[in-house]
């Protein structure tokens, strides 16, 4: 009886060892697989989080005298950004799309300047462009850059004071606000002022415009130009009128003054 008990114990132990070894092996293998999958999930999440944490803004954008884009961006996030490519679409012309490779990194809190200066893609200040910057993580920033004659703008002209005595100066102020939707940036704002005196009045320009031009006006920004004219006249009530624009009727504004 003692012998048989010993034998059954050995046999049972062998089976138990086989079962335990199989179970341990399977659990270990499963844990390894789960670990690999977990690593993949973490890696994927990290990529997605990094992509979401990328943040950069247009610091300035203009078309330089050499006929090239000159864009500066600021990395306002907390991760380094690699700008890989810039797409350029001339919306003034038909089917004009181009791109060029940048591959330049910008650290958090830093600026990346002169984007577009070394590009073979030229730019004409009279045209409007749709630009898109692409990062290595797949984020993009799209904005338009163009002359102020593409769409109507909020403009206002003020003659100060409206009633002026003879041999006094009037200040003429021309406000231009970039109220276009989305990331529409305006370039090369050069105002033209035209004044007409009626009756006994005469107008003599003393100086202006100040400043002569704005090379860049971001979305929501306002450009202010100033002129000063000397008014002379003999008949109170005689009027003089001024109108200003940025080279097209979509940006025109006018005002009227009188001799006191």
């Amino acid at each position: 009886m003692t012998t048989r008990r010993g034998l059954s114990s050995v046999v049972g132990m062998v089976f138990a060892i086989i079962v335990i070894a199989s179970s341990v092996g399977y659990v270990t293998y499963s844990m390894n697989l789960l670990d690999k999958y977990n690593q993949a999930v973490l890696s994927r999440n990290q990529i997605a989080i990094d992509k979401g944490n990328e943040n950069f803004q247009i610091y300035s954008a203009k078309i330089s005298n050499s006929g090239k884009f000159n864009i500066t961006i600021a990395n306002t996030g907390n991760l380094p950004i690699n700008i890989t490519r810039m797409w350029v679409q001339n919306t003034t012309a038909n089917d004009w799309v181009n791109f060029y490779t940048i591959n330049k990194a910008v650290n958090p809190g830093s600026l990346l300047v002169n984007i577009g200066q070394s590009s073979p893609v030229g730019a004409n200040a009279a045209n409007a462009y749709n630009l898109k910057l692409v990062t290595s993580r797949g984020n993009t920033m799209q904005f338009t850059l163009g002359s102020p004659g593409v769409k109507p703008l909020f403009t206002q002209l003020m003659i100060l004071p409206n009633y002026v005595k003879t041999l006094n100066n009037v200040t003429i102020i021309y406000y231009v606000t970039n109220n276009m939707t989305s990331n529409n940036l305006l370039t090369n704002l050069k105002p033209t002022l035209s004044c007409t005196a009626y009756g006994s009045n005469t107008l003599a320009q003393k100086y202006g415009p100040l400043p002569a031009q704005y090379s860049y006006l971001q979305n929501g920004g306002t450009a202010i130009f100033k002129w000063v004219y000397l008014v002379t006249g003999t008949t109170p009530g005689d009027r003089f009128a001024c109108s200003a624009n940025l080279g097209n009727s979509l940006t025109a504004a006018s005002d009227v003054g009188y001799l006191q």
Partner: protein, 156 residues
């Protein structure tokens, strides 16, 4: 009498033990072999499935840019469109199909040369796609692992 009985008992015990051990050995070996085969097959299947799912999960494609042309399209006088895709993940992928859906039609295009290694782009140009201005187009890009990346664009 007692001596004779003891001899018989000893013989039957030995035979029974031998038979039992033999049976257990055969049954045990068969069971272990069967289990091993099954486990190997299951392990291979699990490894393959896990690898597929992990790779699929790691695919990361962005549709970087889409542009349209009508009058001065490259290499064609017909209207067309260009889709630029960039692999921003850490494994290679293979674009096998691009589907374009707008309000009136569905176009499915098979891609045979859409392999994209990480960090590079693939530009797909369709030189005969009659898009309509301001009519949105849904773009579905499918990879060989079955991942679908989608975006929507509106022609100018």
């Amino acid at each position: 009498m007692n001596l004779f009985e003891r001899k018989h008992l000893a013989l039957s015990t030995v035979v029974a033990t031998a038979l039992m051990l033999g049976a257990v050995a055969v049954l045990g070996s068969t069971l272990v072999a069967w289990s091993n085969t099954n486990l190997r097959a299951y392990e291979t299947s699990l490894a393959s499935s896990s690898s597929d799912k992990t790779n699929k999960f790691n695919e990361f494609l962005t549709i970087e840019n889409v542009w349209f042309c009508r009058l001065n399209c490259p290499h064609s006088s017909l209207p067309g469109m260009n889709i630029t895709m960039t692999n921003v993940g850490n494994i290679g992928l293979n674009v096998t199909q691009i589907k374009l859906i707008n309000s009136s039609k569905i176009n499915v295009y098979s891609i045979s040369n859409g392999a994209i290694i990480p960090g590079t782009s693939y530009m797909w140009y369709n030189n005969n796609y009659d898009w309509k201005s301001q009519v949105p187009i849904s773009i579905y890009v499918t990879t060989n692992r079955g991942t679908i990346f989608a975006t929507q664009v509106t022609p100018p």
